[in-house]
């Protein structure tokens, strides 16, 4: 008898508690998905904290962006969308849009204009690579090297092509275990003109040329699969040079005093930004759009650059980029877009990769396994 009572009471309590929680979620909470670590921290400081203060809405961080698109698809199929806003790389955002997982955005109507009145779509310009994508930052995949492992008298490496120069720079290299960027670098450093890279990469001979170039360093290469790994490889002295994201290298050099140098030449620009999951209820959608409007305005994007060395995606934010929030150093020279760093750069051709990714990935994996 007592047991039954306890059981009943417990179930009742649980039930009301659950209802309260789900109600609470509807009213004053939103779940924002991002990459975690220093990146989420920069968003928290630049967007989430001021927004929560202004509106009283609680923002919950979910560090699931690395499998974001797969989870969005699973949620979409289950018809239960638990995320309100997702941070994705541009290539994944295009995929999400293609799959109908993300909502198409009217950039001018939904986002704030620049302070001088320039419309959002003009302010973001070419960065809007998909109808579903709201650009946030420009980051780059570039190279870091160990300054203490440099041979005596050798000139410091300048960029991607020095990776292929085993004579001047002996030692292991760390590269990302996927074809994107590596194939382009191989061709560019084999003398292919920048304009021709993707045309050549489309052909069988072009792919063979790229693999042949990569073959020259294959035995000296350690392939990483997460960006943290690439920094770790450098920090442990496992490799002399490694490709990584410029923000991670910045954090290692400036915040952790690692003996790394940056080699910017032929850095690959990439974009990261928001997508809104398709299928949100009207109320949640309205709240998400309100947050987006706030978090992607000119000042907010410039603010984020105080915490992490990624360039804001709005043209109007660039002049507002100031000093690092805690270290007080000027952030501009550490931005991938700084003229001193951007002598030779290339932009990942998203549409091209959307087509060729599966094909080249199979070939790349087969090549790795040989």
């Amino acid at each position: 008898m007592k047991l039954t009572k306890t059981l009943l009471a417990t179930s009742y309590l649980t039930l009301t508690a659950t209802m309260a929680v789900s109600d609470g979620h509807m009213a004053s909470e939103m779940t924002i998905v991002s990459w975690g670590g220093a990146y989420t921290a920069s968003q928290q400081a630049a967007y989430h904290d001021p927004y929560m203060e202004n509106t009283g809405i609680a923002i919950i961080n979910d560090d699931s962006s690395s499998e974001g698109i797969a989870k969005m698809r699973a949620m979409n199929e289950a018809g239960n969308i638990t995320w309100d806003l997702v941070d994705l790389e541009a290539a994944d955002a295009i995929r999400a849009c293609d799959e109908g997982l993300a909502l198409e955005i009217d950039h001018d109507a939904d986002l704030a204009a620049a302070p001088d009145g320039t419309s959002a779509s003009e302010d973001f310009g070419d960065m809007i690579v998909s109808e579903c994508f709201i650009p946030q930052i420009v980051f780059s995949t570039t190279f870091g090297y160990r300054t203490d492992m440099l041979a005596d008298g050798a000139v410091a490496p300048k960029g991607a092509c020095d990776v292929f120069d085993l004579e001047t720079y002996p030692g292991r290299r760390g590269l990302n275990r996927q074809p994107i960027a590596n194939m382009e670098w191989a061709l560019l450093c084999d003398g292919v003109a920048y304009e021709d890279v993707y045309d050549i990469l489309e052909t069988e001979q072009g792919q063979e040329q790229a693999f042949a170039m990569l073959d020259t360093i294959k035995s000296e290469t350690i392939w990483w699969s997460s960006a943290a790994e690439s920094i770790q490889l450098l920090a442990d002295g496992e490799v002399f040079m490694a490709s990584s994201y410029n923000g991670r290298l910045f954090a290692a050099i400036v915040e952790q005093d690692q003996p790394f140098g940056m080699a910017w030449n032929w850095q690959m620009f990439d974009l990261d930004g928001w997508v809104v999951p398709a299928g949100l209820s009207e109320e949640r959608l309205a709240r998400t759009m309100d947050f987006l409007n706030f978090a992607t305005d000119t000042q907010r994007l410039a603010d984020q650059a105080k915490y992490i060395s990624y360039g804001p995606a709005r043209a109007s934010s660039a002049p507002l980029v100031g000093k690092h929030a805690t270290l007080g150093i000027d952030m501009a020279p550490h931005m991938p877009t700084d003229p001193n760093n951007a002598e030779n750069t290339f932009v990942n051709n998203y549409e091209w990769w959307a087509d060729y990714r599966d094909d080249l990935d199979a070939k790349f994996q087969a090549w790795l396994a040989q």
Binding site: G100, W223, D236, A362, A369
Partner: protein, 544 residues
């Protein structure tokens, strides 16, 4: 005794007079139901949360409805195309494609189809994306000319009067604007007189009702509807309809002969010349059935062609090698677990309680540590500048410029996974060894056996069930592992499960992932069956 002899031969009765057999059956059945009720919660739980999702996932490996869902009439018209090398389908197919694609673009699922077909033929993804952007202009030339003939053609009301069923018109006018508008219904006469137009209009009306919550009474039809009207009228200039629109149709029918026309094939080729290639069309045709074995063929390095299957080019073959590697390395891991685990389990079973307990804690400790921590710890130990290599260099066993490659290859995976899976070998072994009485060994020795003979002939055979149980556990766990190989395996030490994870989370090719997973599951079952044949599953003991 006398009682039974006087009883007439008949069924034995229970106390309440029913035949004993029936009453016994009833009692047994009641017991069975009660037993079933007791396990019902668990059974349902397993069915709903485990078996059903797995079955659903595995079904994706053959499911391929998307092509016929998105391009229904194109698929139908492709049946007439023989798919011969060097040819492309006829104009009829391009007409069907225009109709299908227009609706697909409004439903926003043409890009999904594009990504699906891009798994098979590179370039289709952008082909659909590009074509989707321009398809709404196709047939515009007919719209302009019909409207040029009579402005009534751009009036939605004209179309509703021509196409809609009267009952729908009535229901629509009674609809109060709350909830969904009544679903559009076609008028049978119009469908007979203008079959293509009716089909196109039906698609238009249904799609805008569902997708945009718009009403056919307010929206001008898509260009594809005018395109269909032109096709109907030019095929049969004597087309007639009854009612108010008869004159409109008659005028148009008389004029269409002089209409400026649009070559749809040319328009598509203009968007992208891939529409003019055999490859594109052959892929759509090959993948048009609702079920496909294409994913399974891909999963074993084959590709589906119109006449069956063929090997992929050598520079794209990866999966068979990965399956082999997964199996061989899982065997190697199981073998090293036996080698390392057996002595430890023996010690555990034979040491005094106190020391055995401490040893047991050491065995269990890895269980309480995060998998990622353990794997990362191996990274620190095994890498080039890591603890083991530095120690060996310091002792002078190896030269500084010739450090051992212990990580980012198969060696790294085997070492790390052996460590991680070791408890799964030791625990079953221990529980079996605990039940082997030490007196057997003493008896063997007292009868003159050497230590080795006593172990090999007396002790070891009794511990085989433990080895069996441990091996099955370790092997099955190893074959599906992916985190550890991903971190320490480099390029030569990754498993098939790493590719499955890639297809689930990055390429979104869930069909291929499901096919690879099904093959992996089949392999595990095959090994289980083999094991049962050779060792016998009855000989496996997980506990005393």
């Amino acid at each position: 005794m006398t009682d039974t002899s006087t009883q007439p031969s008949g069924p034995v009765l229970a106390a309440d007079g029913t035949p004993l057999k029936r009453s016994l059956n009833r009692a047994l059945r009641r017991q069975k139901i009660r037993a079933l009720m007791l396990i019902a919660p668990l059974l349902l739980f397993i069915l709903i949360t485990f078996i059903w999702p797995i079955a659903q996932m595995l079904f994706r490996s053959v499911e391929n409805q998307i092509v016929s869902d998105v391009l229904p009439s194109t698929v139908a018209s492709l049946a007439d195309w023989d798919g011969a090398e060097g040819t492309t389908p006829g104009d009829e197919t391009f007409y069907a494609l225009t109709q299908d694609l227009m609706a697909a673009v409004v439903r926003k699922d043409h890009t999904r189809l594009g990504s699906r077909l891009n798994y098979e033929t590179t370039g289709i993804s952008s082909l659909f994306r590009k074509s989707g952007r321009k398809v709404d202009d196709m047939g515009e030339v007919y719209t302009d000319q019909f409207v040029g003939l009579d402005d009534a053609w751009e009036d939605p009301a004209t179309w509703v009067a021509l196409m809609a069923d009267l009952r729908w018109v009535a229901a629509q006018s009674e609809w109060d604007g709350e909830g969904d508008e009544p679903a559009f219904r076609l008028n049978a006469d119009a469908a007979n007189a203008l079959p293509k137009t009716a089909a196109a209009y039906q698609t238009f009306a249904t799609t805008i009702q569902i997708e945009d919550n718009d009403s056919p009474t307010e929206e001008e039809p898509w260009n594809t509807v005018y395109l269909a009207l032109y096709a109907d009228l030019s095929a049969d200039a004597s087309t007639q309809v009854d009612g108010a629109q008869s004159e409109l149709i008659a005028t148009a029918a008389a004029e269409v002969g002089s209409f400026e026309t649009e070559d749809l094939r040319a328009s598509f080729v203009d968007i992208d010349e891939d529409w003019d290639t055999h490859d594109t069309w052959s892929t759509i045709k090959t993948y048009s059935p609702d079920l496909t074995n294409g994913y399974f063929l891909n999963a074993v390095d084959l590709q589906k062609t119109p006449d069956g299957s063929e090997w992929r080019p050598e520079n794209e073959q990866i999966y068979i090698e990965l399956f082999w590697r997964t199996l061989l390395m899982s065997f190697a891991i199981t073998a090293s677990c036996i080698l390392l685990g057996y002595p430890v389990a023996w010690l555990l079973a034979n040491l005094p309680m106190r020391s055995a307990n401490i040893l047991m804690i050491l065995v269990l400790l890895p269980f309480w540590t995060s998998l990622l921590v353990r794997t990362s710890a191996w990274k620190v130990l095994l890498q080039d500048q890591g603890v083991i290599n530095s120690l060996l260099v310091w002792i002078g066993v190896i030269a500084d410029d010739n450090r051992l490659a212990l990580i980012n290859n198969a060696t790294g995976t085997i070492i790390a996974m052996t460590h991680i899976l070791l408890p799964f070998m030791i625990l079953p072994l221990y529980s079996v060894m605990k039940t082997i009485p030490p007196t057997y060994l003493r008896a063997a020795k007292s009868l003159g056996a050497t230590n080795w003979t006593a172990f090999w002939r007396v002790y070891f055979p009794q511990s085989v069930p433990g080895i069996g149980a441990g091996s099955i556990l370790v092997f099955i766990l190893a074959i599906g592992y992916y985190i550890t190989p991903e971190i320490v395996g480099g390029t030569k030490g990754v498993f098939i499960s790493n590719r499955i994870a890639y297809h689930i989370s990055s390429s979104l090719n869930w069909g291929l992932a499901a096919a690879l997973g099904s093959i992996l599951l089949a392999l595990v079952l095959l090994f289980y069956w083999l094991y049962d044949k050779i060792v016998g599953i009855d000989n496996v003991k997980l506990g005393g």
